[in-house]
């Protein structure tokens, strides 16, 4: 095709064959584009529609379900911007607004782990920046194939080094996240990156191009040939069974990141905001200039004229289609009044950020792009910004009944103290539950000086205001095993755990973001899992009274016919009224009473015990109990602000046994515990809505009264102290043995 495929040429050559299938469009979608335009699209227009209508950008398969997440009136009380914005924004009081979002970079991270993960961080940071906020922290939820698999040794160190390289150089503290392993993620690792930003209410920015005559400025890195088609080719299709060979062919689709440029871009944008030089702003991520121009113009008065000749290029041979599809990193697009252009360019020059006026806002409702004297794009931007919406077929997975019937009830259980001890050590040393320092020690969690809690505490906690001590807490959680057994309940369990983790710091859970990682939407069983997960999340958030503020969907996480476990990763944001009253997970004082909060049932479906000891997955996951989660969170909040707690740690994978071991290890002191009832169930069941806390000596009665007032069942287990975890009448493990088992696993695997 001629590199000057103008609108006139397109109108005159309707019969020309176009490569829509190679760009990921279906025949019906291609027909729809022709119908919308009344002619065949130009090569540039075809490229633009292909990326805008990709699964990654348009949410065409998930949109009908995501509508269920719209918050009700009560949930919206503190919402300043919600689903649909670059990131949701909540009012946390004292004039502060917080914006946060989690996003996937799964496919690029498999193809090229270091750059894939690095640019995942860069992308989500620009989303937060585009809302008007200063990015203040990042988190990462990572899932890989078996820890001892050959390919995991390639993917995991690369992903971690990419996050370390980009986040550290950008100067954002990494305050937590997740690390999990399962055979289902071999070939489909999940790299979900969360960023949180803080601003004053009046700083909130919108992605709109309003005011005809206003200038459109592209600033940041130059546009190059990297990442062309990342959204459509890479993130919206299944890799074949010959994963590795196909993956290599896709490598040029992965972008390359420059965190130094991103740091300059962050500081530059914040100065532009402070000086009031911006009318509208959009980050460039997936679908690059195509996405930024269509979304800005569709969100504003509807028209924009862009000169592609004015876009600074790293490679002068790029075609209009490649310029539009390029996913070169570290770029932003702003709408600026003519009077402010000079001042805008001066701020950019101060920060050594290249900035170029590439067009202007018009009032004609048309997105027009010219190149070398011809018009190569002429479309109503709304038609590209609003992609197709599909009602994909849904069917409950055929194997689910058999899977749920295969309960762990018949699995051999440890019979005596020695066997219980062995079980604890097997779980503690398993890759999922072992010490994560191999990963987290490569991340800077100190930079900016406001990190109050970070991994390995339950949630990350940041100070927002040094004078008032206002803060925010964050946690992410997901559990693919639970969701495989029941995506509705599994998603509520992930929500519950993130909610509980935030509450453990002493914060009030406040808002939710989510990253929905699933297989191919063309598989009705996967669509059923997605629909159930979204329904579970919507119902769960309504029950907890907190809104979903935004999120991201990643589909096609499967190899051939085999999809990953449905893995919604849920992020919860909390507000902490006084970060000096934070509570850590480690036993922080000797002689403190250890109390189990919540009710333990015999629940082993999808448990760490079944997975690690028996390599079994079947039955039903634990029952979520959202009412009890609310009560537990309220209790911990009150107890923390009254200064009653020496530690608080939620119970999750591996149950009470793992929680006790972790509290001992983090606090550097042991405890002596007495159990009533079946020791195995008490120690390893994974019932929801539970926590193990220690009470500041002398405050026991106050705490017991508070438990009663909040209707939270409280069982006194024992007391902290000594240098061993002692289960009376059953077994004990010296702390140094616990530490040895806990810390050796990841270094042994990854060096």
């Amino acid at each position: 095709m001629s590199d000057k495929d103008t609108v006139e040429v397109a109108a005159a050559t309707p019969e020309l064959t176009q490569p829509f299938q190679e760009l990921g469009l279906t025949e019906a979608e291609y027909g729809k584009i022709r119908q919308l335009l009344g002619r065949r699209p130009t090569a540039a227009e075809l490229a633009l529609y292909s990326v805008m209508w990709s699964e990654h950008c348009s949410y065409k398969s998930s949109k009908v379900h995501l509508r269920k997440l719209a918050p009700n009136e009560q949930q919206s009380a503190n919402l300043l911007a919600g689903i649909g914005a670059n990131a949701g924004v909540v009012d946390i009081g004292q004039g502060y607004a917080v914006t946060f979002k989690i996003e996937s970079h799964n496919h690029p991270s498999f193809v090229e782990p270091h750059q894939g993960a690095a640019t995942g961080v860069g992308g989500i940071v620009r989303d937060i920046l585009a809302m008007g906020a200063r990015p203040v922290a990042v988190m990462d939820a990572l899932r890989f194939g078996p820890a001892d698999a050959h390919d995991t040794a390639r993917v995991l160190p690369g992903v971690v080094s990419g996050i370390s390289f980009y986040g550290n150089c950008l100067g954002l503290p990494n305050i937590g996240g997740e690390l999990a392993f399962d055979p289902c993620y071999a070939g489909n690792p999940l790299v979900n990156a969360l960023c949180v930003g803080v601003m004053r209410h009046e700083d909130l920015k919108a992605a709109v191009a309003d005011g005809p005559g206003n200038k459109v400025i592209l600033f940041g890195s130059r546009t190059g040939p990297d990442g062309v088609g990342g959204a459509s080719v890479l993130a919206s299709a299944t890799f074949g069974d010959d994963g590795d060979g196909r993956a290599k062919a896709k490598r040029p689709s992965v972008q390359v990141g420059d965190p130094f440029m991103e740091k300059l871009l962050v500081e530059c944008c914040l100065e532009l905001y402070t000086k009031g030089l911006i009318e509208g702003i959009q980050d460039l991520g997936a679908a690059g200039i195509a996405c930024a121009t269509t979304e800005l113009s569709a969100g504003g008065s509807g028209g924009m004229r862009v000169s592609l000749d004015d876009i600074p290029l790293r490679d002068p041979n790029l075609t209009p289609a490649e310029i539009l599809m390029s996913e070169s990193q570290e770029r932003m697009m702003a709408v600026v009044t003519p009077a402010n252009v000079d001042a805008f360019l001066r701020v950019c020059a101060k920060w050594d950020v290249e900035a170029t006026v590439i067009g202007e806002v018009t009032g004609d409702g048309v997105l027009t792009m010219t190149w070398r004297g011809g018009t190569v794009v002429e479309i109503p931007p709304g038609t590209a910004a609003d992609g197709p919406v599909y009602q994909r077929p849904i069917a409950r997975p055929a194997d689910l009944d058999a899977l749920q019937a295969d309960t762990p009830d018949g699995l051999a259980r440890p019979k005596d103290g020695l066997a219980l001890r062995e079980t604890l050590l097997a779980l503690l040393g398993s890759a999922d539950l072992a010490d994560k320092s191999w990963v987290t020690a490569q991340y800077d969690h100190y930079v900016r000086g406001n990190t109050v809690l970070a991994m390995p505490d339950d949630g990350g906690l940041l100070r927002v205001d040094e004078r008032t001590q206002l803060g925010i807490a964050l946690a992410t959680d997901g559990n693919g095993r639970y969701c495989r057994l029941d995506p509705y309940l599994g998603t509520q369990l992930a929500l519950s755990e993130a909610y509980r983790n935030v509450a453990m710091t002493g914060a009030r859970p406040f808002a939710v973001t989510n990253c929905l990682n699933f297989g191919s939407p063309e598989d009705p069983a996967v669509m059923w899992q997605l629909a159930e997960a979204v329904r579970g999340l919507a119902d769960g958030c309504a029950a907890l009274g907190i809104p979903v503020t935004g999120g991201n969907v990643s589909l096609y996480n499967q190899t051939g016919e085999t999809a990953i476990h449905p893995t919604p990763v849920i992020g919860v944001l909390g507000v902490h009224d006084d970060v000096r009253r934070r509570v850590g997970a480690g036993f922080a004082a000797d002689g403190a009473r250890v109390v189990l909060l919540g009710r333990t049932r015999e629940e082993f479906g999808g448990s760490a015990w079944a997975h690690v000891v028996h390599k079994q997955l079947g039955g039903h996951p634990p029952a979520p109990d959202l009412d009890s989660e609310r009560k537990l969170a309220a209790l911990i909040g009150s107890a923390a602000s009254a200064g009653l707690l020496a530690s608080a740690h939620d119970l999750a994978d591996g149950g009470l046994a793992i929680a006790l071991a972790e509290s001992c290890l983090r606090g550097g002191r042991g405890c002596r515990i007495g159990l009533s009832g079946d020791a195995f169930t008490e120690l390893f069941s994974e019932s929801a809505a539970r926590a193990v806390i220690s009470v500041r000596p002398g405050r026991e009665e106050e705490f017991a009264a508070l438990c009663a007032a909040n209707e939270v069942p409280a069982t006194v287990l024992g007391v902290t102290g000594g240098d061993a975890l002692v289960i009376d009448g059953s077994f004990e493990v010296p702390l140094d043995e616990l530490a040895r088992v806990w810390t050796r696993t990841l270094p042994a695997l990854f060096g």
């Binding site: 130094f260 100190y446 000086g449």
Partner: protein, 225 residues
């Protein structure tokens, strides 16, 4: 008391260094890399980060920035200067301190709370400590292993210019466990660990790092009287 904190493109811990100056009771003054102007400050901190993206070599480009053209002669004339992490790298590149910082022995970035032993409590930046005092301070760097020729190392030790050492094995393979050194006059100090992240137990592992900043305030107050 006014203490300048330089911001280079890619500086990250400049706000933290300014906070530490405030905690120590002095006024932080922001200095810009592109200005040949020290704004009359009484001392200067080169903060941590990745100045100029660490391109070419850590600190190699920053040393040629306009602000350094003022800082180098001022430091040679006795102005107290503290370089932290990337700041230490810049001081070495600018030849205000000998040696260089090289890639960590394990080839990975390390964030860890390390124990340090103060080995010289007579510098402008360490006078509030006592020799032999143990500090608990974060280390966070990818290229933090101090390296120098044997003769330089011998001379640093003989003249007492090793300011702090890692207690126990150096986590990054630093020569002779060196975590920080000073120039002959003791007014220029370079540190690999980050004392500005240890000024408040709320946000750091301890408040042990505050002494570096109060030392300078004390020394400057003494010089004025």
């Amino acid at each position: 008391m006014r203490i300048g904190v330089v911001t280079f493109p890619g500086s990250l811990d400049d706000t933290d260094a300014a906070r530490a100056v405030r905690y120590a009771g002095a006024d932080p003054v922001s200095l810009w890399h592109a200005d040949r102007d020290l704004r009359g400050v009484d001392a200067v901190i080169l903060p941590g980060g990745f100045s100029y993206g660490d391109y070419l070599r850590c600190g190699a480009i920053a040393r040629f920035s306009p602000v350094m053209a003022e800082l180098v002669p001022a430091a040679r004339a006795g102005l107290p200067v503290l370089g932290i992490c990337n700041g230490f790298q810049i001081l070495c590149e600018a030849h205000l301190l000998p040696g260089a910082l090289t890639r960590n022995a394990g080839l990975r970035f390390i964030t860890r709370d390390v124990r340090l032993t103060v080995t010289n409590a007579r510098t402008v930046w360490t006078s509030d400590y006592t020799t032999g005092q143990q500090l608990r301070i974060p280390l966070k760097s990818g290229e933090g292993a101090y390296a120098a020729g044997q003769a330089t190392l011998d001379e640093l030790e003989a003249s007492g210019r090793v300011v702090v050492r890692y207690a126990g094995a150096a986590p990054n393979g630093a020569a002779r466990g060196i975590a920080g050194i000073c120039n002959e006059a003791g007014n220029v100090v370079g540190l690999m660990p980050h004392p500005e992240h240890a000024i408040d137990p709320l946000t750091g592992p301890s408040a042990d790092g505050l002494g570096f900043f109060t030392s300078a305030v004390t020394a400057l107050a003494g010089a004025r009287n």
